[in-house]
């Protein structure tokens, strides 16, 4: 299909569309009011729930910290505590950055560039969050086992549980990471191809 032929087809469709009235006043009004429709607001809502859970767990850990009576359990407790405090900050920051973009005053080219940059930042943050979660997942079991059951998993009679738990966890995290990063890459690639073209 030649460009001119495309233009004729497009004009025909445009003429047809002129006579269409899809939206009613009520629908438009709803679209302007329902703020939670915005993808970022929705994502932020989930991240806030996650943050509340993390901070709640951190508070619980602080209150129960005296139950961790061995030095290694204390070290794990501190690492878990720091992870629980840092994770929500990282997650909320990444969404905040994406929301800052002024869609109305930036050109299409600028939005493409910023979109690409924010996607890269997002991927980077996502990776950091993933690795912190990995550490957290490994150390949280001995810590919670001690707090809830007063059982030290590193004592000789309990250590076998750890040898089952860790490989299962690693396999699970491997598939989880694959799933998490796949989606980000495809959208980033779409913007990347267009940006390469900008330089030519």
């Amino acid at each position: 299909m030649e460009l001119e032929e495309m233009k004729n087809t497009w004009e025909e469709m445009s003429k047809r569309l002129e006579n269409q009235e899809i939206l009613t006043n009520q629908i438009i009004e709803k679209m302007t009011k329902e703020k939670y429709n915005s993808k970022f607001n929705k994502l932020q809502f989930y991240e806030i729930i996650g943050a509340v859970i993390c901070y709640g767990s951190a508070l619980f850990l602080i209150v129960s910290f005296q139950k961790l009576d061995e030095w290694y359990l204390m070290v794990f407790g501190v690492i878990a505590l720091l992870s629980l405090l840092v994770l929500p900050v990282l997650a909320l920051k990444k969404i905040g950055n994406m929301k800052k973009l002024d869609i109305a005053s930036n050109s299409y080219k600028d939005v493409l560039i910023k979109f690409q940059k924010s996607r890269n930042d997002l991927l980077f943050t996502q990776k950091i969050i993933f690795y912190i979660s990995l550490v957290l997942a490994v150390i949280i079991l001995p810590v919670t086992s001690k707090i809830f059951k007063n059982k030290d998993l590193f004592e000789a009679e309990n250590i076998s549980n750890m040898w089952i738990y860790i490989p299962v966890l690693l396999i699970f995290l491997f598939f989880l990471s694959h799933w998490v990063f796949k989606g980000y890459r495809s959208a980033t690639n779409a913007a990347e191809n267009a940006l390469k073209d900008l330089d030519n």
Partner: protein, 162 residues
């Protein structure tokens, strides 16, 4: 006329514009409804800042196309849409078109272009001048001409391959 009524009138007058942007940047009915709503929402959010600094159509294309980039699927995570109740059916029916072969072919060709080319070709097909395309896209007027002739070549080779 109050601000809201003014906005509603502007959107109703330009439904076709939003529709065409939505069609070019999405592949499924659900994505179309999501993007349509997101564009109207973003237009409303920036309605104050518009203040007739640029042409109405320039502002609308800019917001609609920029929103489309930002709404590109980043993952398969599903985000619920605002329910438009019974009217959704009517909305979906129109969005389910076009069934015409030529139009389908046109969309197929455009879907193969990259995001920058897609933006340029949309404005070209809408009959925008090189100057206006340059203003919306953010490149020079001469660059617009170069890009359009490249897109022409790309489309030609696309047909030859077929």
């Amino acid at each position: 006329m109050d601000k809201k009524s003014q906005f509603i009138e502007v959107v109703k007058k330009n439904e076709g514009l939003i529709f065409k942007v939505v069609m070019l940047y999405t592949n499924s009915l659900q994505d179309r409804e999501d993007l349509y709503q997101e564009i109207v929402f973003q237009l409303w959010k920036s309605f104050d800042s518009f203040a007739e600094k640029s042409k109405l159509s320039t502002w609308m294309y800019r917001v609609a196309m920029n929103t489309a980039i930002y709404s590109l699927k980043s993952s398969k995570r599903k985000v619920d849409t605002v329910p438009i109740n019974l009217e959704t059916t009517r909305f979906a029916e129109v969005l389910a078109r076009p069934e015409e072969d030529r139009l389908k072919l046109l969309y197929e060709h455009i879907q193969r272009l990259n995001l920058l080319e897609k933006g340029i070709i949309l404005l070209f097909l809408e009959g925008k001048s090189h100057k206006e395309i340059a203003e919306i896209i953010g490149i020079t007027t001469s660059n617009v001409g170069t890009k359009i002739s490249r897109i022409k070549d790309k489309l030609k080779s696309d047909i030859t391959k077929k």
